[in-house]
Amino acid sequence: MENVDYMKLIYDFHKEMLNNKFTLVYEGEITHQITKAFTSLAENKMDSYSEDASMKKKVFHVMVECLQNLSKHAEDNKGKINSGSAGNGIFIVGRLGDNDEDYHVLTGNSVENSKVDELRALLEKINQLDKSGLKELFKKQMREGSLSEKGGAGLGLIDIARKTGEKLEFNFIDVGDNHSFFLLRTKISRK
């Protein structure tokens, strides 16, 4: 019986993916190789239905920045905590809209509670700024920020907001053990 339940779970999972129009779901360690594989997969897929160039570029760009955020953060966590999600993240690409004309990219990863306030403040600041405000913030961060050891420049989120022209949707879920699960959703709309 257990086996039947398990098989049913897979079928439900498959249906859930279709219902939610998820075209790519990945849970696990995000490496550079995986980033390359996913972005080229998405590019090929979009080529297959002749997606227009500017949409393709936006989706590619958001994927790269989201995946790199996950992979850099994963390294920060490695070996530090034992909560199952350490060093891992979830990454989802899906379609949106009545005719699947838009996309969204969703990420989730565990962050230390001590970092939540800073991250939340940055996200709220980004969401308050208009196009020219984001441009100024990006330039300021480029001038004043320094690259971390992992090559993070604190620019990814600002750039995602600039390139998509959308507000960043986010949430933090307390998962105990001094950690929160950080969820981020970026829409890429045809405008």
Binding site: H32, K36, S40, A53, S54, K57, F60, H61, V64, E65, Q68, K135, F138, K139, M142, R143, G145, L147, E149, G151, G152, A153, L155, G156, I158, D159, K163
Partner: protein, 124 residues
């Protein structure tokens, strides 16, 4: 001076650093796994070049795509050339972007606003 020629891949740019032929060029895509390591020899070369630069230095950027981590390093590179200009040498940036690529055009404009080097913008 040593000539550096790095052949581009799908995630790293073509780089030509050739003082004798007076060619400094970056083209292709830049989203390396480790930007700091990838660009370290480039920065080092420019620092060496800055000690006795050509009377006129032209730097060509013909990039299709770069990620935000690369954008920070590209600024560091431009600031090195700004130092050369401030030492009294002529420096010019040639910034190429695909005709419909507004992001790349805007990126060039932004750099030109941050660094005090003349930029020539070219669409292709």
């Amino acid at each position: 001076m040593e000539v550096i020629k790095i052949k581009g891949t799908d995630d790293t740019p073509n780089v030509i650093l050739d003082a004798e032929s007076n060619i400094i060029e970056f083209s292709g895509r830049s989203l390396p796994e480790d930007v700091v390591t990838f660009y370290a020899p480039v920065i080092q070369w420019i620092e060496e070049y800055a000690k006795s630069p050509n009377p006129k230095t032209e730097v060509i950027f013909r990039l299709e795509y770069f990620n935000t981590a690369s954008s920070k390093i590209l600024l560091d590179i431009l600031l090195k050339f700004e130092d050369i200009l401030n030492e009294g040498h002529e420096v010019l940036i040639q910034w190429y972007f695909q005709e419909d690529d507004e992001d790349m055009e805007e990126a060039g404009e932004e750099y030109s606003e941050i660094v005090d080097i003349p930029f020539e913008m070219h669409s292709y």
